[in-house]
């Protein structure tokens, strides 16, 4: 294998030197050859290059001699047939190459942007950054709260809304899983880690409460997505209680999911969906497409 | 020749008697064993069975002894040929450890055919006394005696009666199902017998529009229902109701065995 690589590089070098000769020949006598004796200088340059070519040619021959005969015929798959086709256009390679190049370029660009955004750490929800250990100890942790504290916070929120019923279960150790029924409009399962909302699944009235399956209905799948966005938006590591309360307040605004039209276009339906987005501050309903 | 035949006859007779006696002995042995070891789960019928066995064996033995074919054992004499104060191992084995020595003071006890002389004397005295009694006194004593016996008989039979009713009560608990009850239940479930709410009653559970209580012969409907209720109720309270039911059902049921 190494021999093959060596041979290939020597062929490349040979082609380069041959190319150089043609290059010099095509350029003819240049300014840098000086005024007097420029012919000789040019000739000697060509001669030098030719020498290099012969030298490289010898290298190639040597490398080829070193190559052993490949055992059996080489199977190259479909590429075998490439040699049969001589017109470049019909292979359509060029356009594909350009396309893939464009894609890689784009990916590169986007990932650069993403990296820049992520490095600002605005969405990081745990203190995993290599900050000083001293500072970490002083910070309040939102995911290390006693179950009683979680219960009191949630029951306080529960009292706040009388058309939203909540029940807490703890199927996995101390972390609470909250089942919320919003009138007879929808229900949601919210998984907490301490007081940090970790996961939200929104389902229709009468659908099974569970954390892992999506709703049957498109509307609720959409709202699940939006709740994820809201849960990230409202997240604040220093005031976990406020975060939960504001999320719940926002979530409660879905009580008018089917009855209130979009604030912007004034109609109920867009693409056969009701306004599934609620403004994070004003709680006004918008269609996905109208919110911008 | 005759002697020889008689001897042979005697031998076979003795063998047969020995066999019976051995049987008897074994039954007594097993009964004693049972009494000693299984007394806690030995019940009365079982014990009675054992006694019956013993008595039948005794009867057959005595019949055998009184049979014509058998020689009169009474006429034969046993002479102890050898008495010894020594312990005899063979004898011990033969008697299953009961008799160890065949000595002078033991042999008369084993071979005795008459009661002890004192007892014999007493018996003669009593017989003499009896033969000397006058007819009246005998009659008087006999009536007194039969009176006492009758009294005892009465007590015993009364006890027996009590005991039997108790016993039958006990064996009744082994009965686990009653055909009469089956019939009652099936009839109730299938046709509502005993469940039918008579007219004008039991409409509390029904929607009021179902049957108007008006226009129904209230008096005529209610009276039998009350009677029915009373009968049912009283039947339920009497504890012996089940027993009588069983009997009557056995007579009535077409499939009774």
């Amino acid at each position: 294998m190494e021999n093959l690589y060596a041979a290939l590089t020597s062929v490349k070098v040979l082609r380069c030197s041959v190319g150089q000769i043609f290059n010099s020949l095509a350029n003819g006598i240049r300014a840098d050859h000086g005024e007097e004796g420029r012919d000789t200088k040019f000739l000697s340059e060509i001669e030098e290059l030719l020498n290099a070519v012969t030298h490289h040619l010898r290298d190639v021959e040597q490398a080829v001699n070193n190559l052993s005969q490949p055992p059996g015929p080489l199977t190259l798959g479909n590429t075998n047939f490439l040699s049969q086709e001589c017109t470049q256009e019909r292979q359509a390679l060029y356009s594909q190459l350009v396309l893939s190049y464009k894609w890689t370029d784009k990916i590169h660009e986007y990932s650069n942007h993403a990296a820049a955004l992520l490095s600002q750490n605005s969405l990081k929800r745990s203190y995993m950054n290599p900050g000083s250990a001293k500072r970490r100890r002083t910070q309040t942790s939102s995911h290390n709260v006693s179950p009683q504290a979680v219960d009191t916070v949630i029951s306080a929120i529960d009292r706040q809304f009388n058309d939203m019923t909540m029940s807490i279960s703890r199927p996995f150790a101390t972390n609470a899983v909250l089942q919320v029924s919003l009138g007879r409009v929808l229900q949601a399962v919210i998984a907490f880690k301490g007081l940090m909302i970790e996961w939200v699944v929104v389902k229709g009235y009468g659908e099974a409460f569970d954390l892992w399956t999506d709703s049957r209905h498109k509307v609720f799948r959409k709202i699940t997505e939006n709740s994820h966005a809201a849960m990230l938006h409202f997240y604040s590591p220093t005031l976990p209680e406020l975060a939960v309360r504001s999320f719940m307040t926002w979530f409660h605004s879905y009580i008018t999911l089917f009855s209130e039209p979009c604030k912007k276009c004034g109609s109920h339906l867009h693409c056969a969906l009701p306004p599934t987005w609620r403004d994070l501050r004003t709680l006004e309903p918008f269609h996905e497409e109208c919110k911008l | 020749m005759k002697m020889q035949r008689e001897e042979k006859q005697l031998e076979t007779a003795l063998d047969a008697i020995l066999l019976r006696v051995n049987d008897l002995k074994n039954s007594i042995g097993s009964m004693i064993f049972k009494l000693e070891n299984e007394s806690e789960n030995l019940n009365w019928p079982n014990l009675l069975d054992n006694f019956a066995l013993l008595s039948s064996q005794l009867v057959s033995l005595s019949k055998m002894l009184g049979h014509d074919k058998y020689p009169l054992l009474r006429t034969l004499a046993i002479i102890p040929l050898e008495l010894s104060p020594e312990r005899d191992e063979q004898l011990l084995r033969l008697t299953e450890g009961r008799v160890a020595i065949f000595s002078h003071d033991l042999a008369p006890d084993y071979l005795r055919t008459k009661p002890v002389p004192e007892v014999e004397q007493k018996m003669i005295q009593l017989e003499h006394k009896a033969s000397n009694l006058s007819f009246e006194t005998v009659q008087k004593q006999m009536t007194a005696y039969s009176k006492v016996v009758g009294h005892v008989w009465e007590i015993v039979s009364k006890a027996r009666e009590e005991w039997e009713t108790e016993g039958s009560g006990r064996s009744g608990s082994a009965i686990t199902s009653s055909l009469a009850d089956t019939n009652t239940l099936v009839a109730a479930v299938a046709m509502g017998k005993g469940l039918k709410v008579c007219d004008g009653m039991g409409q509390g559970q029904l929607p009021p529009n179902m049957m108007g209580p008006s226009g129904r012969p209230v008096g005529g409907g209610q009276l039998p229902s009350n009677q029915l209720q009373q009968q049912m109720g009283s039947m339920g309270k009497v504890p012996s109701g089940i027993k009588t039911n069983i009997k009557s059902a056995n007579q009535m049921h077409p499939y009774s065995r």
Partner: protein, 205 residues
């Protein structure tokens, strides 16, 4: 089961039944709906014998959306009682034939069934013993279970593809606006329309 509204689509003079269905299908497909099978709702009516006193009618309906259930609605002079039962209820009605007899022809609504996001749209052509009588459009909005919540939304959707002929809500939903919608409510709507069709057929025939 979501809130469902059944709407009778008016027939135009120059259109046959299949043409109307075709026309509606085109509209609904243009909105992005996909056909998902067919549907069928049928109704048999059994009428009591005169000996039983005042006449009562038992309507027995089947909906292909709930294939294991039989819906029956008993109609007396004073009230109607709905009953949902297993499929074997049909067998029981056969046992009842001496007392309740089938005197009127079967009426059914049958046609394609479409899905568009969370909506389910059914275009049914109504026939009484194979004679075409009209078109019933059923629209179900499956995520919502309380009628009062989604009245506006439903009306908007219906007007979106049926045009301005859509005005009021079905009568039988009016007094159940705040209750959870049941499959029986759909059946009740079908029955109301079926009885209308029958009445009209009776007048014309």
């Amino acid at each position: 089961m979501g809130v469902t509204i059944l709407h009778q689509f008016p027939m135009l003079e120059n259109r046959t039944g299949p043409q109307t269905i075709e026309f509606l299908t085109k509209r609904i497909v243009a909105l992005g709906a996909v056909q998902m099978g067919q549907f069928l709702v049928d109704c048999d009516s059994y009428i009591s014998m005169p000996s039983l006193g005042p006449q009562r009618t038992v309507h027995v309906l089947h909906n292909s959306e709930q294939p294991a259930s039989v819906f029956s609605i008993l109609e007396t002079n004073t009230k109607t009682i709905p009953l949902v039962a297993d499929g074997l209820f049909d067998l029981l009605m056969l046992k009842m034939t001496p007392i309740y007899t089938k005197k009127v022809a079967k009426i059914e609504s049958k046609g394609p069934r479409f899905e568009l996001a969370d909506f389910c749209i059914k275009l049914g052509s109504v026939t009484i013993s194979q004679n075409f009588k009209g078109v019933l459009v059923e629209v179900e909005y499956r995520p919502c279970v309380v009628p009062s919540n989604c009245v506006g939304l439903m009306r908007e959707f219906l007007q979106g593809f049926l045009g301005s002929c859509v005005q009021s809500l079905p009568a039988c939903l009016q007094n159940k606006m705040d209750e959870v919608y049941q499959p029986m409510d759909t059946i009740q709507q079908y029955l109301d329309h079926f009885l209308n069709f029958r009445k009209m057929a009776g007048y014309s025939g």
